[in-house]
């Protein structure tokens, strides 16, 4: 195999996209990236979108503003540990936080299925209010649409958030250097496993709780450390996708260790039963931080004092071994590449 095979394939043209939209176009893997890079980025053409970050950081003359939007279509919309409402608030708030912004305002747009019980909607809206209060944001605008029964699955929510970035703070994958340290704020795959277990009616001794949480306290606790290069929340596509994206954007190699990544026992159980890889399961209350080596210990110490990141751990380092690719050191001591997932994870059949 030669180096050429390792090169990323040439971007598609619009005509080369599949005839019809497939489910995998929304899964956060290669098809999602293809769709974004082929369709939305050129059509909506602006520098913020082109940066493909978790948030758009605007630069008005007075203060720097962060802007982020996210749609939520989780099924089931109530799951152990949370529901679509707190998810919709925390998801967008966390995206703002990952740019170092102090979240301030949200908008929320609802698409509701005809026949949705009002009390279900009220329950979700209440969860949103509670989550917003906890996150220190106000939901200042919104929209509601209703579609025919069968045209949506319960309800979908889109939230857009605005936050403010302190002067001088510039977190970006472009600042990552070889020798930096990769920190993750806790166990991996809880949200994805919780939703899957619930959807397929798999009962373990204890229910797997989603980790949906607001990361405000974690970020505020460490934000003043100058050694922080950047942060990402490993949502869709999981930890593997996040470290791969950071490797790609920084042109370096984030190398993580299988032995340092902690899974809850039940999460590992469901992964074995359904043949899934926890590294690719969604998280909704975790962050990945790339930190200068001299400040890694201090960052870890502070993170462990905050409830949402009490299990924070160093999971790897940045190298310049294989530029643009993330890798995993397996527990038997081998090293392999971590790629984006091609399609939704589908369970094994034997």
């Amino acid at each position: 195999m030669n180096r050429q095979r390792l090169a990323r394939s040439r971007p598609l043209t619009m005509e080369e996209l599949p005839d019809v939209v497939q489910i995998a176009h929304g899964s956060g893997g290669k098809l999602t990236h293809q769709l974004i890079e082929t369709l939305f980025v050129p059509l909506f053409d602006n520098p913020c979108l082109k940066a493909l970050g978790d948030q758009a950081i605007l630069d008005p003359s007075t203060e720097r503003m962060a802007l982020s939007t996210d749609a939520f279509v989780v099924k089931p919309y109530v799951f152990p540990g949370g529901n679509i409402g707190d998810l919709a608030v925390n998801g967008t708030v966390n995206d703002l936080l990952m740019g170092g912004a102090t979240p301030a305002y949200l908008t929320a747009s609802f698409i509701l299925e005809e026949g949705l019980p009002t009390k279900e909607l009220a329950f979700v809206a209440e969860s949103m209010a509670i989550a917003a209060k906890k996150a220190g944001v106000q939901i200042v605008a919104g929209d509601t649409k209703v579609v025919e029964r069968g045209a949506a699955d319960g309800l979908y929510i889109t939230t857009t958030g605005v936050g403010f970035v302190p002067k001088g703070l510039q977190w970006s994958p472009a600042h990552i250097r070889a020798g930096d340290v990769v920190i993750v704020s806790g166990t991996i795959g809880d949200h994805g496993a919780s939703v899957l277990a619930h959807r397929f009616g798999i009962d373990f001794e204890s229910q797997i709780q989603s980790d949906t949480a607001c990361l405000r306290e974690v970020v505020m606790a460490v934000r003043d450390l100058p050694g922080i290069r950047c942060m990402r929340d490993p949502t869709r596509g999981g930890l593997a996708t996040t470290v791969q994206e950071l490797s790609h954007t920084s042109g370096l190699n984030l190398r993580i260790r299988e032995t340092s990544i902690v899974l809850q026992e039940d999460v590992r159980g469901i992964c074995e039963v359904l043949g899934l890889d926890a590294l690719y399961l969604a998280n909704e209350g975790k962050l990945v931080a790339v930190v200068a080596p001299e400040e890694a210990d201090e960052c870890l110490r502070i993170m462990r004092t905050v409830k949402e990141s009490k299990d924070a751990a160093v999971i790897g380092e940045v190298t310049d071994d294989i530029p643009g690719f993330a890798s995993l050191e397996t527990y038997i001591g081998a090293v392999r590449v971590l790629d984006l997932l091609s399609l939704d994870q589908l369970p094994r059949i034997c």
């Binding site: 095979r5 939209v21 026992e265 890798s327 001591g333 392999r336 590449v337």
Partner: protein, 372 residues
Amino acid sequence: MKLVDEYRDPAVARYLLEQIRELCDGPLNIMEICGGHTHSIVRSGMEQVLPPTIKFVHGPGCPVCVTPTAKIDQAIALARRPRTIIATYGDMMRVPGSSSSLLQEKAKGAHVKIVYSSLDAVRLAVENPDSEVVFFAVGFETTIPANGLSVIRAKQLGLTNYSMLSNHVLVPPVIRAVLDDPAVRIDAFLGPGHVSTIVGSQDYEFIPAEYHRPVVISGFEPNDILESLFMILKQRREGRCEVEVQYSRAVTKYGNPRALDVVKDVFSPVEQEWRGIGAIAESGLSLREELRAFDAYHKFHDWMPLQRPEEPSECVCGEITRGVKEPRDCASFGTGCTPERPLGACMVSTEGTCAAYYRYQLVTVQTGGVRD
């Protein structure tokens, strides 16, 4: 759920690797029959840390990969039938037929549902009395009993809208075919763990008895596989050649008699087409004649495509499945054939050799590996 950590202990891995290096005194080609093993070997980067003289030959044990194109075309034809729901296991969705896949049909509006157990397919039939539910059932001995159970259940419920399009394949006949092929050179076998929980270890006695190759039935964690390698090397060192069970926490000699009874009650052996290998006598199972009412192939015979599809000529899936070639021997690997646009089935299933190589092996080449 309790999981045992000793199977993931790096210290155990290091110890086993030392033992293997000590015992390894020459080239050893080991075929792992099961796709689950292939996945685990490649995912853990095992070949990087083993002595370079030990080579894995990836066997035909991925049910998705050995399903012939013609069978996929049949499922697609049924997916296009009005008021028909195709129920299938996830991996089958993306397998390319001659012009489409179930995933593409689903995107165009066909009713294709992923199920996680065969009884979910029966439930679909109960819940949708106005539709025909066709369960596209593929699998080895591991899944065949559960698939058979669904027919028994449908019969008990008196369902007339449930049928099965089956591609059930058996391990021992294909191993024979592989061993009889002069192009294939194998010194020992890693026996399939899950299949053996059903059939027991006795099904493989013919391998040492008739072909003089040792077999060790292995679990799926990398440490399981390392221990199995150690057991194979030990047999060789001590001049033994027999069937041993490393996966003793799940495998017994005689398997699961209840599951085997279901298989006998529901299926009978038939000649079976294997993708890339060809037809092998008595290597498949189809529904017994008295259960034909549940056999989608017979029930909807008029819908079945007449033309026999050509396998794509640039795809060497067949040779890869037989262990004669490796993915990197294929000109299309990683360029014309990727998991997003697979040419052959080996690139589709997570247990397929090509998909496993594509996902996990690129780095070995780039870094020159970490072999010592």
